[in-house]
């Protein structure tokens, strides 16, 4: 018998192999598993949210987002060197040309008025 004849015989055997096939049996407690699956589908929104947040990929991404937002806020609100210089010079001006009346005079005046 040559190779192709042998192959043809194997092909016929393969095609006939399923002719008197018997049904496979389902694993026991199928109904229990179906009920468990149905109840799983009924879990609350918070349970679903908890499950979602608890996933490592989501938790890690969330953490990265929070860190990124924090860093951005800090960087945006960081006072620049120019801001500091302007604030410093205006403070110096206020100090130099201060029109603040010394409190001691007010006290003296009050005492004179009382008399």
């Amino acid at each position: 018998m040559n190779k192709q004849e042998n192959i043809n015989r194997l092909i016929d055997d393969a095609l006939k192999s399923a002719d008197d096939i018997k049904r496979a049996a389902v694993k026991p407690f199928l109904l229990t598993r179906i009920h468990a699956r149905m109840n799983k589908g009924k879990e609350s929104l918070w349970e679903k949210a908890g499950w979602l947040i608890g996933r490592p990929a989501v938790a890690f991404t969330g953490l990265c987002m929070i860190l990124l937002i924090n860093i951005t806020v800090v960087m945006v609100n960081k006072p620049s060197a120019t801001d500091y210089a302007v604030e410093r010079s205006s403070q110096q001006q206020l100090d130099e040309f201060s029109y603040t009346v010394a409190t001691i005079y007010e006290i003296d005046n009050t005492q004179q008025n009382d008399k």
């Binding site: 194997l10 393969a14 496979a24 199928l30 109904l31 149905m38």
Partner: protein
Amino acid sequence: MDQPELITQLQLGDESAFTKLVDEYQDMVYNTALGIVQQADDADDITQEVFIQVYQSISSFKGDSKFSTWLYRIAVSKALDHEKKKKRKKRFGFVQSLFGGDGEEQVHPVEFDHPGIQAEKKESAAALFRALKQIPDNQRIVFSLHKLEGQSNREIAAIMNTSLQAVESLMSRAKASLKKELNDYYQKNIT
């Protein structure tokens, strides 16, 4: 309880009718799924999904077709959806592995050993199931329903919502495709 009464009770939400339905049709649904996905655990998952779907949508069953036809239709469609999801996962696992991930989602095909095949035919049947995986979905469904579930061409036409001629044509194409796949396989593996 006869079938129309069982369906009426199911539509009324009777739990004992659902238990009876699962008991009566579980082998049919499981074996249909098993013939398509060729994985016992996956077929078990699909069987559960099918019965949940039946429970949720029994009100939409109007009795235009036989109940078993409706059930076969759901089982075949769920099994095909499952196959598509699995292929997507496989592709995603491959992409993950390209980017240095361990690709744990990758699915490795294993040789299928159907528990209902006689011991002396196991080797030939394994080659047949391997070839079945390679042929187009429509041809695979027709062949599986006919050979594994013993459905007639007329019943298959009702399940697939197509004509009898279309089923006959699909069946002959399935046989030709299987012969070609088997020939390729044996050419490579027989010295």
